[in-house]
Amino acid sequence: MKGFEPKLIAFLCNWCSYVAADAAGVARFVQKPNVRVIRVFCSGMVDPSYVIKAFASGADGVLVAGCHPGDCHYLAGNIKALRRSFLLRKLLAELGVDQQRFRLEWIAASESPLYAKVVNEMVEEIRNLGPFISKAKKLSKGGA
């Protein structure tokens, strides 16, 4: 697994977590360069299919981050994201995605150190896990 550089997609909500990521930049909190951010209005906007699409397109991990419960810019979009995440996790498990590869986090605008910490933690965890290979691929390899 030496030299493996995982690629992560992070869906960040426009009002809290994206601002935290910006603030982490302003404060120069060093992060592993493995995470690519996609801005969304709300964590509640993240259709489970986006997460699956990311894994299908070769991502090794996906982070969804939004405002803390109670602080959602759209009242409760983050709660809806949370509600969906339970079924999504089961679905991901079915697809052979290790549970560490998907994270849902609450990161407030003021929590830039937390953002950097989450990114670095997650990159290291996934580096240890190795690249994500879908069940289908594994099967076809096994069959070959």
Binding site: E5, K7, I9, W15, C16, Y18, V19, A21, D22, A24, G25, V26, R28, F29, V30, Q31, K32, P33, N34, R36, V37, I38, R39, V40, F41, C42, G44, M45, V46, D47, P48, S49, Y50, K53, A54, S57, G58, A59, G70, D71, H73, Y74, L75, A76, G77, K80, A81, R84, A108, A109, S110, E111, A116
Partner: protein, 1118 residues
């Protein structure tokens, strides 16, 4: 094929230093076919950079533009404007963040370059799916709301109002002016804070475009820029701003004094007051925190705090009138009440509860002793007649309150005496007959007729009363039948019911009490019976009960007194049978009771039948509870409940028969005296409503209670006085007579108890001010109201709080009176402050010679959670030491500082003057400790420049406390949907370019709510926020983001999942066509519906699934 222009910004070296922009540019030009042009440039946001884009659009006919540079939060509008200028729809543009998210945070250039390239490729893939979008426009409601009435808010409000627009100013406190109103002088000019502020506050107060809402808080904001809907909770002032003339008569009669919050506890104020004479609004208002726990706990809702406060200042007459508003029997209640008020009294959390009950008894007795009659006035006489059946506490209370309303009341009583259980149930050593008689006499004197010896059902009936013209009947017949045991031999001679026994004694009927008496029962009646038997000559009285000692339902103090008098208590014994000898009782056989209650806590005694005890006796009293007279109850024809009690509506006391009301024990089962009184009053109010309007309404609306837990403020209000002890007769003296045991409080004891009260509700609503107020401006029944405002722009100027110096216990604030905060020092200097402007020590009023200022208390201290510099404290201390020196030129000031920060116009010069001309000694070093030695304060620190410890003697120590976010910042942030930094200051749109804006269009920031700043900066930011609002109003309309949800009806299956998702009610279901419909004017674009739609029929424009998928693919392509 579409043509895309890609532009990569170096941002000087911000991006270029870590990301190889040129290499990416070269690679992308060739790698992706649609990329028609790819350029990198030092500063894309500069005019040459923007021109480059505009020229390419024109010359190359680009379809899309991708810009890779800083965060879109920074420059997305800049570049959207640039492409628009060249004729391209701004939504055909995509911005990629390679600075904040990439170059600034990546630790290696290679990784950063790869990351930047991936992100840009994501942007390119996404932009190919972009479509032109146009937003709609909405008109702007040109009304502003300014939250916070400090100098920043005042400035913003005045500027907007002067421009001709309406402004609502929302202020949490009773006056506007904020912290600046508390200051004495301002740095660096030493001009008087009041002199520059009060002209502004008075202008705000009388401006025709400004409406001030004091004691108000914003609870909810909905809508969007230009069209906000705001809910404001306006708490009562209790004094009408329009009627109050500011004469101050009210505060002269107010019985309560509390430490003044405005004066930071350095002096007291009355709950009705105004902080200072020039305050705006220049009228009085009342501080009331809610219903105090004593009053909440009282079933009758007696205003305990009110009569305690009035008693404390010797206004006994008014105090008793206040008691009588809800309790006609002050003397009786003061003797026999179960005192839920004292259990709830918060003074009990300090030492022992206030002696509420004995104080009330004093008031009742004082009236009797002085011969005065202090009842509330009778309202207009009414001719309607009301009958009351039963003259117990419930019936007499109903009669009293009906009489006060003006009704003609007749009370019918079966027994030859009035008073019910008060007269025939409670022995006279606890409640002397003359006491209850005089209270009944008082009720008679209100015009109530009491007819004794009249039995309901025999002498009078509902029908006969109706015929006699009675409009309503209140039934309160009580429970007068003693419960029997139903055991073998219970019919023996010498076995008697406890209730019957007490009644016979009270009515002077003959009863035989033998030498050896057994009382069966563990409640209060049993104790009363035992003690009465003792007084009637019994040689030995044994009280035998099922319960163990700690389970006994009788009150502890009654049991103690009984024991003192020689009553023997035998626990855990249950009667098995009564042993007769020739028809007369000889002994009682008891069995051991193993448990009184089962595992569910239900009464279900279990016995050991083999463990029996035989107790010889000559008389037995069975006092195991009272029962209802079922025959009587059934004869009334009213609906009943299990247990043979009358069923009533607990809010109105109405029975199943129209016009008939019932209350007290006959509706509750055995209950307390005070509950019976509460029922009587409630029934009187209902009967009044019934007779006046023919209908009933619940009149139980209650103010919310204050917290149960004692607060720091309440603790501070506690006067160090112990609870007065009720003088009692010695056991030997009392046990053979029916003389009252308790001798009563003296006037001094009652007043002392009144002063021990913590005034938990602050204002006690005693009504003294209401009676005094000439223009009748005071209304104690006011309650909070919610106002709904429609505004176009909001300025948040909620200010700051001052750091709580108690968090540095080593500095002794709160322990030593001469260690004060710098805000307290401001009040000391202030001419309208507690000392009238004299700088003196709070402890002894002496002029201090040596004053030590300690800097950075709660600033720049990570251990206390406040890492930032509060910015103003260095200058405040320089100012304050200068003021001190002007007051006492011989004095010496010392300042312990970390660094001196004097950035600002004229600030450094001012600081130098403090050092050079005022000769202040500035010592660099954090203070370790302030302690007392030989009656003097000593400040110990390390001089960090010299590296040696120093100790300075101080007459006064001033802590330069830092500025911290308001305690309720979370509520404001939630209501307005604002972000805060990690401390709780509100986040501005951009730290440099948008300091007065927030990330929410139409909501602006001013003053210290955004971060610590001084007065000139607050004023400047207030002006900036006003300019933002005025720019919006001047535009007249706003463009609404087109990034809203759209529905593809052909895909919609009508499952309605989306309808429940929307927090804004923007989605409804079209029943006719069986599809969802989206109201785009209400849609906020959050996309929760789109994510939930199982068939992806809903898409948010510009955040469509195909666009996000393309971006994912683009990013992960390499």
């Amino acid at each position: 094929m579409k043509k895309i222009g890609v532009y990569i910004c170096h941002c000087g070296t911000n991006i270029g230093g870590n990301v190889d922009c040129h290499k990416i540019s070269e690679q992308l030009s060739t790698e992706i076919g649609e990329v028609a042009v790819c350029r990198d440039y030092k500063y894309m946001c500069s005019e040459p950079g923007q021109k480059m884009i505009r020229d390419d659009i024109a010359e190359l006919g680009l379809d899309h533009v991708v810009e890779a540079s800083c965060s879109p939060k920074m420059h997305e509008p800049t570049f959207r404007n640039a492409v628009s200028a060249a004729g391209m729809n701004p939504y055909l543009f995509e911005m990629v963040n390679i600075r904040e998210h990439c170059s600034w945070v990546s630790d290696n250039p290679e990784g950063a370059t790869q990351k930047a390239k991936d992100l840009i490729k994501g942007g390119i893939a996404r932009v190919l799916h972009h479509e032109p979008l146009t937003g709609s426009t909405k008109s702007v409601n040109p009304v502003a709301m300014v939250v916070g009435g400090g100098i920043a808010g005042i400035t913003a409000a005045l500027k907007i109002a002067n421009a001709g627009y309406k402004v609502f100013m929302i202020e949490k406190e009773e006056i506007v002016g904020g912290k600046m109103a508390q200051f004495d002088k301002t740095f660096p000019t030493l001009d008087c804070s009041g002199c520059i502020l009060t002209p502004k506050t008075s202008e705000v107060g009388r401006h025709r475009n400004i409406e001030i809402l004091t004691k108000s808080e914003v609870t909810e904001v909905t809508g969007f820029v230009g069209n906000f809907k705001v809910r404001v909770l306006q708490k009562p002032r209790y004094v009408s701003v329009d009627k109050c003339t500011g004469c101050g008569d009210c505060q002269q009669v107010c019985p309560i004094n509390i430490p003044s919050p405005f004066e930071l506890g350095m002096t007291t104020r009355h709950p009705i007051s105004r902080p200072f004479p020039q305050a705006i609004p220049n009228t009085y208002s009342i501080i009331r925190t809610g219903m105090p726990p004593c009053q909440s706990a009282c079933p009758a809702g007696v205003n305990v705090q009110g009569y305690m406060a009035l008693t404390g200042v010797g206004k006994f007459e008014q105090a008793l009138s206040l008691v009588r508003e809800r309790m006609p029997f002050a003397s009786a209640c003061g003797r026999i009440c179960v005192r839920p008020c004292e259990d709830a009294c918060k003074r009990g959390q300090i030492d022992s509860p206030t002696a509420i009950c004995f104080t009330k008894r004093f008031l009742g007795d004082y009236e009797k002793d002085t011969g005065a009659e202090w009842n509330p006035p009778i309202k207009e006489r009414r001719e309607e007649k009301v009958a009351v059946i039963g003259s117990g506490p419930s019936g007499l209370s109903a009669a009293y309150y009906l009489a006060l309303e003006g009704y003609q009341v007749t009370v019918y009583e079966k027994l030859p005496v009035a008073g019910g259980m008060l007269t025939v149930g409670i022995p006279s050593y606890r409640l002397p007959r003359d006491v209850i008689n005089s209270e009944i006499e008082n009720i008679r004197s209100m015009g109530v007729t009491i007819k004794t010896g009249v039995t309901f059902g025999e002498n009078v009936t509902f029908e006969s009363l109706e015929e006699d013209g009675f409009g309503a009947v209140f039934l309160s017949t009580g429970l007068h039948i003693g419960r029997g045991l139903g055991l073998e031999g219970e019919d023996a001679q010498g076995v008697l019911g406890g209730v019957e026994f007490l009644r016979k004694v009270a009515l002077d009927e003959p009863v035989n009490v033998g030498e050896k008496v057994i009382v069966i029962g563990g409640g209060n009646v049993a104790v009363d019976v035992a003690r009465t038997a003792l007084r009637l000559g019994a040689a030995q009285v044994e009280l035998v009960c099922l319960e163990s000692r700690h389970e006994m339902p009788a009150w502890e103090r009654e049991l103690d007194e009984a024991l003192e008098e020689g009553v023997i208590i035998r626990n855990s014994l249950g009667p098995k049978r009564f042993v007769q000898d020739d028809g007369a009782i000889k002994s009682v056989e008891f069995r051991r009771c193993l448990a009184v209650f089962d595992e569910n806590g239900k009464f279900s005694p279990s016995y050991d039948e083999n463990d029996t005890t035989d107790i010889p006796c000559s008389t037995v009293f069975v006092a195991i509870g009272q029962a209802s007279d079922r025959n009587f109850i059934n004869s009334t024809g009213l609906t009943t409940k299990p247990g043979g009690i009358i069923s009533v509506n607990p809010d109105t006391m109405e029975t199943s028969r129209p016009g008939v009301f019932a209350g007290g024990d006959c509706t509750l089962g055995p209950a307390t005296f005070v509950e019976a009184v509460a029922h009587g009053r409630q029934a009187a109010l209902s009967i009044d409503s019934y007779l006046k309007y023919g209908g009933l309404r619940s009149v139980n609306s209650r103010e919310s209670a204050t917290p149960v837990e004692i607060s720091e403020a309440e603790r501070k209000r506690a006067k160090p006085v112990l609870r007065s002890v009720m003088p009692v007769l010695a056991p030997e003296q009392r046990k053979k007579t029916f003389d009252p045991i308790e001798c009563g409080f003296t006037e001094e004891m009652a007043r002392s108890e009144g002063q021990r009260c913590l005034a938990c509700g602050v204002c006690c609503q005693c009504g003294e001010c209401v009676r005094k107020c000439g223009p009748q401006a005071i209304d104690l029944n006011q309650s909070a109201v919610t106002r709904e405002l429609e505004v176009g722009a909001i300025v948040v100027a909620t200010g700051v709080d001052v750091f709580d110096a108690h968090q540095y216990p080593e500095y002794g604030h709160g322990k030593y009176p001469d260690v004060i905060t710098n805000l307290q020092f401001e009040r000391l200097c202030n001419a309208s402050g507690p000392t009238g402007g004299k700088v003196v020590r709070p402890s002894d009023g002496k002029v201090p010679n040596s004053v030590v200022f300690i800097q950075c208390v709660g600033s720049r201290d990570k251990s206390k959670g406040y890492e930032y510099c509060s910015k103003v404290c260095c200058m405040i201390s320089a100012k304050q030491l200068s003021i001190f020196k002007h007051h006492n030129p011989q004095g010496q000031a010392y300042v312990f500082y970390i660094d001196n920060r004097a950035g600002g116009k004229g600030y450094e010069e001012f600081l130098r003057r403090a050092i050079e001309e005022e000769k202040a000694q500035y010592i660099r070093g954090r203070v370790a400790k302030v302690f007392e030695e030989g009656g003097n304060l000593v400040v110990r620190a390390e001089n960090s420049l010299v590296g040696c410890p120093v100790e300075v003697q101080a007459d006064l120590v001033v802590l330069a406390t830092g500025l911290v976010p308001q305690k309720d910042y979370v509520n404001v942030a939630r209501a307005l949907n604002l972000s805060t930094d990690k401390y709780g200051f509100f986040m501005e749109l951009h730290p440099k370019l948008g300091p007065a804006e927030t990330s929410l269009a139409g909501i602006y920031l001013a003053g210290c709510a955004q971060g610590p700043k001084d007065i000139p900066e607050s004023v400047a930011q207030g002006g900036a926020a006003a300019a933002e609002a005025l720019a919006l109003f001047s535009m007249g309309q706003v463009e609404i983001d087109p990034t809203v949800a759209t529905l593809n009806e052909r895909l919609c299956t009508g499952c309605r999942t989306c309808v429940g998702m929307c927090a804004y009610n923007a989605i409804s279901f079209d029943e006719l066509r069986k599809v969802a419909t989206i109201n785009q004017a209400l849609c906020q674009g959050c996309g929760t519906c789109a994510a939930a739609c199982p068939v992806s029929a809903i898409q948010v424009q510009h955040y469509r699934q195909d666009q996000i998928f393309a971006q994912i693919e683009g990013i992960l392509a390499s």
